[in-house]
């Protein structure tokens, strides 16, 4: 039993650390550090910087143009990004659609999309949820009807991460409304967002930001060749995508960054805290930090199991506890910052003096999307505890 990394892993870590230090723009770094929204250009530039050395797609195998890293290397890489306040590679591209194309895409699709996806020449949006299908994704009702070499797609999709920045979207549609189970009869389509019939309506979230959209699909014609895998087998690919989404989502580094801001704010006089409040908040910060340390070990344990080729259903724990701690840290920050953090600005309407409130509101959604905490607990009860 041993917590330390191998000499090779340590050399790798140093290499990543040096690269990030040399190549991350100070402006992007500052935005990430302070929890501010990134511009599209910031994300694209960083992704391409990483891609130049083949690091933009940590989880992709070498055969698909990825670095072919081990689970430990992937962990180290992400940890270094967090510690250096670097953005993560765009997850829609790298963690979601990329692995699906690698596993289930046709050769033509791989040739057409993988490189562009890695280099963010294509920005992907996720089109899974619908107004009537959130945690219960399989209840979706968008339809695709075959018309020669095309599907004619109609429906409405929600919560598209950044669809207004995106070029393409991957989505689930119902191709066989008569299927016996609602999970049957679903297909996985790639849709060019410039297609006629696609309308994107912005949704502003309670953090004042625009990262979510509603996408209306009216008689959108999608070439059959842009279907991933088999018709009516889309649920299989979606499940694969979601299980990837759930891996490594403890986001410990992000919480650590929030705690660093808490420490700064506690040390600053701006907050105007009474001594008693300061002491109380410091105790709370210490408790969150301890839980975070535990979660880091838990994450390493899951990682070690993955490294050994086992899948560990306990990764749901990472999601639940990771979200809980990020939310707790962001709430603590809001309390510590005090009245200096009451001001608010909507995206595009100037900068708020403090991002504490925005971040707090942003993170309330973290226990809802990507498998709500209630769903994760259902999974633990069934799959881990056998209830």
């Amino acid at each position: 039993m041993d917590l330390s990394f191998s000499p090779e892993d340590i050399a790798f870590r140093d290499q990543v650390r040096a690269f990030v230090a040399q190549n991350l723009s100070p402006d992007t770094r500052r935005k990430v550090e302070q929890g501010r929204a990134l511009d599209k250009a910031d994300v694209v530039e960083w992704q391409r910087t990483l891609n130049r050395v083949g690091w933009a797609t940590p989880s992709w195998p070498a055969s698909a143009g990825g670095p072919g890293w081990s689970a430990v290397q992937r962990y180290i890489f992400m940890d270094e990004l967090y510690a250096a306040c670097a953005p993560e590679p765009l997850s829609f591209n790298v963690s979601m659609i990329g692995p699906v194309l690698i596993a289930y895409g046709s050769d033509a699709q791989k040739a057409r999309f993988l490189k562009a996806t890695a280099n963010l020449d294509i920005w992907w949006a996720q089109g899974f949820s619908e107004p009537g299908a959130g945690s219960d994704l399989a209840a979706l009702s968008a339809t695709a009807v075959r018309d020669g070499d095309y599907y004619v797609v109609n429906g409405q999709k929600l919560w598209q991460g950044m669809a207004h920045r995106a070029d393409w979207m991957f989505t689930l549609v119902r191709t066989d409304p008569k299927a016996a189970k609602k999970q049957g009869g679903i297909s996985f389509l790639l849709i060019d967002l410039k297609s006629p019939g696609v309308t994107i309506r912005p949704i502003i979230t309670i953090d004042g930001r625009h990262e979510v959209n509603e996408v209306f699909l009216d008689d959108v014609r999608v070439p059959v060749g842009d279907r991933v895998g088999e018709e009516n087998q889309g649920w299989t690919y979606a499940k694969y995508l979601l299980s990837n989404e759930r891996t490594g989502i403890a986001r410990i580094g992000m919480t650590r960054r929030i705690l660093a801001r808490v420490a700064d704010a506690l040390a600053s006089v701006e907050a105007g805290l009474t001594e008693a409040a300061q002491a109380r908040h410091a105790v709370e910060a210490t408790a969150i930090e301890a839980e975070l340390r535990a979660l880091e070990i838990t994450q390493l344990r899951v990682l070690a199991a993955q490294q050994a080729g086992q899948t560990d259903p306990r990764s749901s724990i990472l999601k639940i506890k990771g979200v809980e701690l990020r939310q707790a840290a962001s709430e603590l920050l809001l309390r510590v910052v005090g009245p200096a953090g009451y001001a608010f600005a909507y995206e595009g309407q100037g900068e708020a003096p403090s991002e504490a409130a925005s971040n707090y509101f942003t993170l309330r959604a973290a226990s809802i999307y990507g498998g709500a905490s209630e769903v994760q607990k259902n999974i633990i009860a069934s799959s881990v505890l056998g209830l």
Binding site: G134, S135, D136, I206, G208, A277, G338, I368
Partner: protein, 345 residues
């Protein structure tokens, strides 16, 4: 012992609820004028000052109705805070009060500063000129300042504190407007060598300290009741959502974990409701020690309830609960601000 409203109070509740429901649907902005017209602004002031001579229970009724409709009114800052400062001033300025009560003039309560606990001396300072004061300093988060003709400002002087009235267009006063995260328009106000006459002093010395505390107490009572209205609105919306939204072939209301969370919301709301009532029944209590303890307890319970009800309402709504366009998302932000205010005291 009774918790019933009098006939007049029930009428007031009815009036306020109708007015705010209307205002929630139509933000064309004449709410303040309508409130003045209906006499609502005059409620807490003495009859000889043009007021209605009503008490904290009536204020509670108004605040709860505003919260329930999720209407952002300037009532808390203009009437509950600045109005209390006038009402309880060493010499209440009768003409100004009647202007305030009639809706002809608005005030703002300029107290908060960066880096100061809410119950401690201000950094904004005034020095005596013999027959008046010269004020320099900076206030933040002054709610509804843009529409205020005068500012009730808390300042530190050699050996004590003052509460002063300063015209908002006085030379040396500058304003930067922004929004608080609950949607309230607010301003940072800088004072640079601003002159105030001796007659502008609402209270000084020990009386100023008491006046600041009384204003905080009345604000607490108002915000507690507003929070109760907000929590009721969010609970109602959540119950509606649980009953209508279906997942995995069942209405959400059939999932026990969600039912229990809704029950937790009710418990928190009822505890807060009790405390909002207690606040209204205690805020004019003559015993300062008892009042201070009671209002600290009110803040403790209401703050915690705001957090639980707000966070749970959003979680149970799922995705739509975090959108700006859904009332639950906005209500959560309103409750969050009240929670933070309650925590600071």
């Amino acid at each position: 012992m009774n918790f019933d409203l009098s006939e007049d109070q029930a009428m007031l509740k009815d009036t306020a609820e109708r007015l705010f429901a209307q205002a929630a649907g139509d933000s064309s902005g004449d709410l303040w004028a309508r409130m003045a017209e209906l006499g609502l602004l005059a409620a807490p002031f003495a009859e000889e000052d043009g007021g209605l001579g009503l008490g904290p229970v009536e204020t509670m009724i108004l605040a709860e109705a505003a919260g329930r409709a999720q209407v952002l009114t300037p009532y808390a800052s203009v009437i509950a805070a600045a109005g209390t400062a006038l009402r309880l001033a060493t010499t209440p300025p009768s003409a100004l009060i009647s202007g305030l009560a009639g809706g002809e003039v608005r005030l703002a309560w300029a107290h908060e500063e960066l880096g100061m606990p809410s119950d401690q001396a201000r950094r904004t300072r005034a020095r005596s000129t013999g027959d008046g004061w010269i004020v320099t300093g900076r206030k933040i988060n002054v709610a509804h300042a843009a529409d205020a003709a005068r500012l009730a400002v808390t300042v530190t002087i050699d050996g004590g504190q003052l509460v002063l009235l300063i015209p908002s267009d006085a030379r040396g006063v500058s304003r930067r407007d922004y929004q608080l995260f609950d949607g309230t328009p607010a301003s940072e106000i800088s004072f640079y060598e601003v002159t105030a006459e001796a007659s502008a002093v609402l209270a000084s010395g020990g009386e100023a300290i008491v006046l600041m505390e009384r204003v905080r107490e009345h604000l607490t009572a108002f915000r507690a009741a507003e929070a109760v209205g907000l929590m009721q609105a969010l609970l109602d919306a959540t119950l509606e959502h649980l009953k209508t939204r279906r997942q995995f072939g069942e209405p959400l209301a059939s999932f026990q974990a969600l039912r229990h969370k809704a029950a937790d919301m009710l418990v928190a709301l009822e505890q807060a409701r009790s405390m909002a009532m207690l606040a209204a029944l205690s805020v004019e209590d003559a015993d300062q020690e008892e009042r201070r303890k009671t209002l600290a307890q009110v803040r403790s319970v209401v703050g915690k309830s705001c957090k639980l009800v707000g966070q749970t309402a959003v979680q149970l709504h799922g995705g739509i609960g975090v959108t700006e366009e859904h009332p639950v998302g906005r209500g959560f932000r309103q409750l969050t601000l009240i929670d933070l205010e309650m925590e600071r005291g």
